[in-house]
Amino acid sequence: MAKVLVVAEIKKGNIKSSTTELLSKAKSLGAEAATVAIGADVGALAPELANAGSDTQYILEDAGMAFFSAGPYASAVVDAAKQFEADLIWFGFSESGKAMAPRVAAQLDAACATEITDIDLSGKHVEVIRPAITNKVMQRVKVNTPKLVAVVRAGAFEADTGITGSENVVKLAAPEADLKAVIEELVSEASGEIDLADADVVVSVGRGAKDQAGIDLVRELANDLNAGFGSSRAMVDGGFMAHNKQVGQTGKIVAPTLYIAIGISGAIQHLAGMNGSKVILAVNKDPEAPIFNVADYGIVGDLFEVVPLLREEIAKQKRKR
């Protein structure tokens, strides 16, 4: 039976959904799954990790590990992998995962595959699927080393709540304090707004909104959906929106699950910034607007009529829940 070590992703004391997804996948493949959790205050997470599907929980709880630092974190993962005798070490698709994976692979003399979307353990060799050439092709990669370190693409696997493991905690010793650099403090930007690049839903406003009143109306829609609020260039040039809100060729390039374009005609400069979105909804009064060529759903109408209707319907749905 294959042994999979999932490196737990913890943000502000909570296990991220990606960890659960990875554990579910490991179990569904019939593998034995373990997790490794690293941080200053992660001891209490063991039951939750077991519940998510891990059979062994390697825990490194140390005040010195409060902030992520690729070197020592990777050493801890290597320690856990050796104790567990893991064949596969999986990371979630995060900056920290991407920083650790190559270090761990090098120390374990293992292959390293990034951004995998699927894995096949049935054959003699492990095989992974990963996109290449900006998603234009998917490649099937045969792994020739006995061990594989993989970074799994966000959302590639689904969580299965029916899968559980058992609690079996192994404490890890803190790596030697020969750190080249120590993270002293995490300075994060104090902004209440949702970052456009991170947002799962983005609502953008264009020239159709005309003025501040129109923008405010669309902003309300964004707030209703807890969405990032963006803009086309016209509104930035008009001085209504800040440049960091501009979606497009020379602004932010976003790819949310849902992109709602309100009053945006869809000039190619704008499309270049959002056509990677999974689902696109467009509202525009001009049925010829090029935005409808890329939209999955289109509403031809005046945004001053359509947006209030949308908001009403969203409020209704929320109440139902």
């Binding site: 060729q249 190619i268 270049a272 056509n275």
Partner: protein, 702 residues
């Protein structure tokens, strides 16, 4: 008059002048090489047209008054130069006469009359120049004391000569010529004074003086004239009036065959070039000698900034200051540049490595302490340029501004990696999908679906390749232009094909932003494809593609006959293969794209086409043809934000709106986007339609 004094003055003045010129020329010779000695005949022709003919001074309607003023002073100087020789001769030999221009010949008299009138004309022009500077104060001029000094010196030259002659006249005519002065007096043509009304006038002014006083005045004016002239000669190289000496050679060494020097094809595999930072223009000593001569020649007339789309919309690029900053930096480093050139000569490529290293480290010590981009030229200044060439097309002394800007961008992109980061998505799009938007390359031919357009891969035995370009392939708005053009070609029975998904961006914008590596990659891939199909004739609707395909591919091995679609449509009409009806209804104007007009001189064909479909003809914009105003998208600006000052496209759109037109025709996909966007900003897009000429033609074919 006084041979000893004359010899002394000439010796001193010419020695100082010679020394100054030696230093100036030595600096130029220490700069990088430039090959500007080919086609001497054409070069002399340019000198006749631009320098002697003063084409850009008198040729521009908007600047005709000051242009004529300058031209008359210049022509006056040319004529008076002969007079000067005469006066130097007079210094040695009393009554000195030049061969052919003596009193035996009518030519001598004619010259005398001409000189007489020109002195008055020049004097009047100096007065006008003073009036302009002091009262009218045109915005483009810096009002410097130097200008007043020079105007003053010119006035002294004219007045002293007139008074010298006037005194002589009085002495001869009124006082019985006591000193027995020589004067022209030929039985056929009469006394020289009959030919010189202005001198007679000047004489009348001093007629009240006694013989003795006149004798003193005559001698004083003679020497004042000579000393002023020699002083003038020595002042010239010190400031902007150096152009009096350098503009003729500057025009002579003007780039031929293309409006300015094409960007240098960099050898990116040369490791030493990366190490020595010689890719692009990174240090002041990397200017070539012609660029140095350009800096000597800049007269700070400010025409360049007046027509510049960035300066007029409050951006920091001011070519006048740009030249001045470069000139100051070059002169401040003159000694080091000369020393450096000496060291370069000492490097023996086959010599010892240690020795070479030692010389190279000495060379690095001679680098300017200032960063060329950053300290001398600000980043925002460098990246503001749209490469529209408006500045170059009005420069009376043919200074090439744009190549320096591109070379500096090359340095910024390749060596310093300090280019605007907002360019990244577009550059990446080019690398991965062959178009700046990064749209899947496989969708490149989708616009032609159902139009029955052949692909080269299916049948390459065609007369023309239609080069569609990225905008025409991917931008919904420009796709309509491509579709219109296909309709025209099919209607006229032209045998053509497209490359389809094999076509890639020519790399134009990558090159304008200094990414020579990406440009060469795009160019080489395209050339391989084109040569593979043995393409000979190319039609394109994009002037930027036209420019790159026609002028920048040949050095990489791709030579084709490339024409713009407006040239081709014009040809079809002339040959009777295409007929248009004059049914266009509305007021039509035309916006000249920079890369079609100023880069390729195509002004008449688009107008011919528009006149063939509209009975009312073309209503010209104030800024049209050679002086067309850029839409703001050239030089890679399409892919950058425009955050400083007014938007250029809006400035242009306002100009079009002010013309009360119903339609504005364009011939470039970037112009189409920018002008249409400008109309949208002004909420005029319904009233004033922006259309490509191909769209108009497609709608009016019979």
């Amino acid at each position: 008059m006084n041979p000893i004094l004359m010899s002394l003055l000439l010796l001193v003045a010419l020695a100082i002048f010679g020394r100054t010129m030696y230093q100036k020329i030595r600096l130029l010779m220490a700069l990088e090489p430039a090959d500007r000695f080919d086609n001497i005949k054409k070069r002399f022709k340019n000198v006749v047209v631009f320098a002697i003919g003063q084409k850009r001074l008198v040729g521009r309607k908007k600047e005709r008054a000051s242009g004529l003023m300058h031209a008359l002073i210049f022509w006056g100087f040319c004529i008076l130069l002969i007079r000067s020789v005469n006066l130097y001769g007079e210094g040695f030999v009393s009554g000195f006469q030049l061969p052919l221009l003596g009193e035996d010949s009518i030519l001598g008299y004619v010259y005398m009359a001409l000189k007489d009138i020109m002195e008055a004309v020049v004097l009047l022009m100096v007065l006008y120049a003073l009036f302009r500077r002091a009262v009218q104060k045109p915005k483009r001029l810096h009002n410097t004391w130097e200008a007043y000094v020079v105007l003053g010196l010119i006035a002294i030259l004219m007045i002293s000569d007139l008074l010298y002659d006037g005194s002589r006249y009085n002495l001869i005519m009124l006082h019985g010529n006591p000193a027995q002065l020589h004067y022209f007096d030929n039985p056929t043509y009469g006394s020289e004074f009959l030919w010189t009304p202005i001198t007679a006038g000047a004489a009348a002014l001093v007629s009240g003086m006694g013989a003795e006083a006149l004798g003193v005045a005559m001698v004083a004016m003679f020497w004042l004239h000579i000393i002023t002239q020699l002083t003038f000669l020595n002042i010239l190289p010190l400031g902007k009036h150096f152009h009096v000496i350098t503009s003729l050679p500057n025009v002579f060494f003007k780039n031929l065959g293309y409006p300015h020097q094409t960007p240098k094809l960099l050898d990116l595999e040369d490791e030493a070039a990366w190490e020595d930072e010689t890719l692009g223009l990174n240090h002041i000593h990397q200017l070539n000698w012609k660029q140095g001569l350009d800096l000597y020649t800049c007269t700070e007339c400010g025409r360049c900034k007046e027509v510049c789309p960035t300066y007029t919309t409050d951006k920091p690029l001011n070519l006048y200051d740009f030249n001045d900053a470069l000139k100051k930096e070059m002169l401040a480093n003159a000694d080091n540049i000369i020393k450096r050139a000496g060291l370069v000569r000492r490097i023996d490529p086959n010599g010892e490595a240690n020795q070479i290293e030692k010389i190279k480290s000495e060379m690095i010590d001679l680098n300017s302490s200032k960063q060329l981009v950053g300290d001398v030229i600000a980043l925002d200044t460098l990246w503001a340029c749209t490469t529209c060439r408006a500045c170059e097309s009005v420069c009376p002394v043919t200074i090439e501004h744009v190549p320096r800007i591109i070379a500096m961008r090359q340095g910024q992109t390749l060596m310093a990696e300090a280019y605007p980061k907002e360019l990244n998505p577009s550059l990446k799009g080019l690398e991965r999908n062959g178009n700046p938007w990064g749209i899947g390359y496989d969708k490149r031919a989708d616009w032609a679906d159902g139009l029955n357009v052949k692909k080269m891969a299916e049948d390459s035995d065609v007369d023309y390749l239609l080069w569609v370009g990225c905008a025409g392939s991917f931008d919904d708005r420009s796709k309509k232009v491509s579709q219109g053009l296909v309709k025209i070609l099919q209607h006229a029975g032209v045998n053509f094909a497209i490359l389809g998904t094999e076509e890639k961006c020519t790399g134009d914008f990558a090159r304008r932003v200094g990414n020579e590596m990406l440009y060469q990659m795009m160019a080489e891939e395209n050339i391989a494809t084109l040569n593979g199909y043995q393409v000979k004739n190319i039609i394109t609707a994009c002037p930027h593609c036209l420019n790159t395909l026609k002028h920048e591919f040949p050095p990489l091995g791709g030579s084709y006959n490339v024409i713009h679609h407006t040239e081709f449509i014009h040809k079809l009409i002339i040959e009777g293969k295409l007929h248009l009806n004059k049914s266009f209804d509305g007021v039509l104007t035309y916006h000249d794209p920079c890369y079609l007009g100023r880069y390729h001189g195509v002004y008449d064909q688009p107008r011919f086409i528009l006149n063939s479909l509209s009975s009312q003809g073309v209503h010209e914009l104030d800024r049209c043809k050679q002086e067309s105003f850029c839409c703001g998208a050239g030089g890679g600006r399409m892919w950058m934000e425009e955050t400083i000052g007014k938007r250029i496209n809006q400035e242009r759109a306002e100009e079009i709106v002010a013309k009360d037109t119903s339609h504005v025709a364009v011939g470039c996909p970037f112009c189409l986007t920018m002008i249409e966007d400008g109309m949208k900003d002004l909420e005029k897009e319904e009233e004033i339609r922006t259309l490509d000429i191909a769209e108009l033609v497609a709608a009016h074919m019979i």
